[in-house]
């Protein structure tokens, strides 16, 4: 385990060095990501200027949800580049190279690249989050800080898990991967607004199947000290993010099934 962690660190430091060779392109693309995500928030702010609130949630409160989910997603997105491009890796046969090395394939893919330009989304998420916390005048206590940290961690686990599942599907077909974007990018879009605004089936999907509510809506209720019209137990608000760690573990098990299938068909 420690050995695997050391290797992962080695991968990361090399990945950062490779990317630093293209500094201009890095700065430009980070800025582009910052701009793109920033623009989306501008659109949200415009809607609040016209409608004032969405089912009792004001702009700063929604900004809190927005910041939280975008920070998680930026981490996950940066860390799971290997899984993201996995479809092309299978097609080109480059995946075989990973099987020729005495390490787990998931570890090697995780170490494939740490995509630094996602820092644009991260900074933007942090900025919105900071603005929201300041405007809402949140009284930060140790438990609340802990909850924010595990919410970010759990969110990253959830999105990495989704990308692992997406990569697993690529063993069978590289055609339908776009559909998984509904859960990653679509999940980010969904989580930017409070859960109760959605229809029941949709809410249930993003609570019980893809536990998005566990890393965003539920912990946010605890931190913002809001009542929950959906009536989840209060205790759940404080530990829900950890459910997403389990989600990631399950995703990695599914990944193993995919690798087994690949090795028997060699497509």
């Amino acid at each position: 385990m420690t050995n695997a962690l050391r290797l992962y660190m080695h991968y990361l430091s090399q990945s950062i060095r490779s990317q630093m060779q293209y500094r201009v392109s890095f700065i430009m693309l980070s800025f582009g990501h910052f701009l793109t995500t920033g623009i989306e928030f501008l659109a949200i702010a415009s809607l609040f200027a016209r409608f004032k609130h969405i089912q009792g949630w004001t702009l700063p409160e929604v900004a809190f949800l927005y910041g939280l989910i975008n920070i998680s997603f930026a981490f996950a997105d940066a860390a799971s580049r290997g899984f993201d491009i996995f479809g092309t890796m299978v097609k080109s046969g480059d995946f075989d190279r990973l099987l020729l090395r005495p390490r787990s394939t998931a570890l090697q893919l995780a170490g494939h690249e740490l995509t630094l330009r996602r820092v644009g989304r991260l900074l933007q998420g942090l900025a919105v989050f900071a603005w929201a916390s300041y405007t809402l005048d949140i009284s930060w206590s140790a438990p609340k800080i802990y909850l924010v940290l595990i919410a970010i961690f759990g969110g990253a686990c959830l999105f990495i898990g989704l990308m692992v599942i997406q990569a697993t599907i690529a063993f069978w077909t590289t055609e339908s991967l776009e559909l998984m974007n509904t859960m990653t990018y679509g999940g980010v879009e969904t989580a930017q607004y409070p859960l109760p605004i959605y229809r029941t089936w949709f809410r249930k999907f993003f609570t019980y199947i893809v536990p998005l509510a566990c890393v965003n809506y539920l912990p946010a209720l605890a931190i913002l000290e809001r009542g929950d019209p959906l009536g989840f137990p209060i205790a759940l608000q404080w530990c829900a993010p950890l459910i997403c760690v389990i989600f990631l573990i399950i995703a990695l098990q599914i990944w193993k099934i995919g690798v087994r299938y690949y090795r028997s068909t060699g497509s």
Binding site: S46, I54, S176, L179
Partner: protein, 276 residues
């Protein structure tokens, strides 16, 4: 405005048909991808509709559009998503630039701009059948996508849609051409991508932006990709207004094509000077 010779135009049309049929075949082969694309857009449409419904439930203040109009607008956006050049440049051109094979394009006995432009149009129209039509039918059957209020509104919509396709392809082509400058090309792609995303109407109908931003929005060409055609469809702009908007669409189209042409000429000169 560059001169189009007869030979160029027939070559451009032939290459348009060739690329179009290749795209059709790819789309048919990857049936799962077509379903996935449809499913994805359905999902996005639903999220947006639910968000707007919640906003309308929360406020009774007068809005620039009614809830029903917004819903139709959102579904039109999902159906015609391909009009947004969000994937940037033509993937084939991108591959050619990467591999250096782009120099062979210079050997062709044709105007390169219109050759690439016809490819870009094909890229923008081929998915129409497999994405736009099913989405349009599904949304009108199940999700409250309404029909245009009058025949003249339909006509105005179709005319402005035609130019939306041409403008979208011209932007795509500009992005393809800018790839001849590796790094600045990527940067332009990101910048133009964000601008079209925001100012075409795909995220939110443009009228929902603050009033002070409307002037800027009206100056930019991006609203002709979605917002103006869709509002013709809704009858939100009266059909006679097409005579006001059409000259603008044409002017933007000519400006984009001329700009693309100029940049391409410079790019080729640069490519030749470098020796490929």
């Amino acid at each position: 405005m560059p001169k189009i010779t007869n030979r160029t135009s027939s070559f451009a049309i032939r290459s348009y048909i060739a690329v179009l049929s290749a795209r059709f075949r790819t789309l048919l082969q990857y049936r799962a991808a077509a379903f996935a694309g449809f499913g994805t857009q359905l999902f996005w449409g639903l999220i947006r509709v639910m968000i707007f419904e919640a906003f309308y439930r929360s406020s009774t203040a007068p809005q620039p559009m009614t809830a029903d109009e917004v819903i139709t607008y959102i579904w039109l956006g999902q159906a015609f998503l391909v009009l947004i050049p969000y994937q940037g440049a033509d993937p084939d051109v991108r591959a050619m630039v990467r591999s250096g094979n782009v120099v062979y394009e210079l050997v062709r006995p044709t105007n390169l701009y219109f050759f690439w432009y016809s490819r870009a149009i094909a890229q923008r129209t081929a998915p129409g059948v497999f994405r736009a039509l099913p989405m349009f039918i599904t949304a009108s059957l199940f999700f409250n996508l309404q029909m245009p209020p009058s025949f003249s509104a339909t006509c105005a919509w179709l005319v402005s849609m035609l130019f939306a396709v041409l403008i979208s392809a011209a932007i795509t082509n500009l992005l393809s051409i800018s790839l001849l400058w590796t790094i600045s090309g990527e940067g332009l792609g990101v910048l133009l991508g964000s601008l079209t995303w925001l100012f075409s109407g795909i995220i939110i109908p443009l009228l929902f932006f603050p009033d002070w931003a409307q002037t800027a929005i009206n100056i930019l060409p991006f609203r002709y990709l979605m917002d103006i055609p869709f509002r013709f469809y809704l009858g939100h702009i009266s059909p006679e207004q097409i005579w006001y908007h059409l000259p603008f669409q044409i002017a933007y189209l000519i400006a984009l094509i001329t700009a693309g042409h100029l940049i391409l000429t410079r790019g080729i000169r640069r490519l030749v000077a470098q020796g490929g």
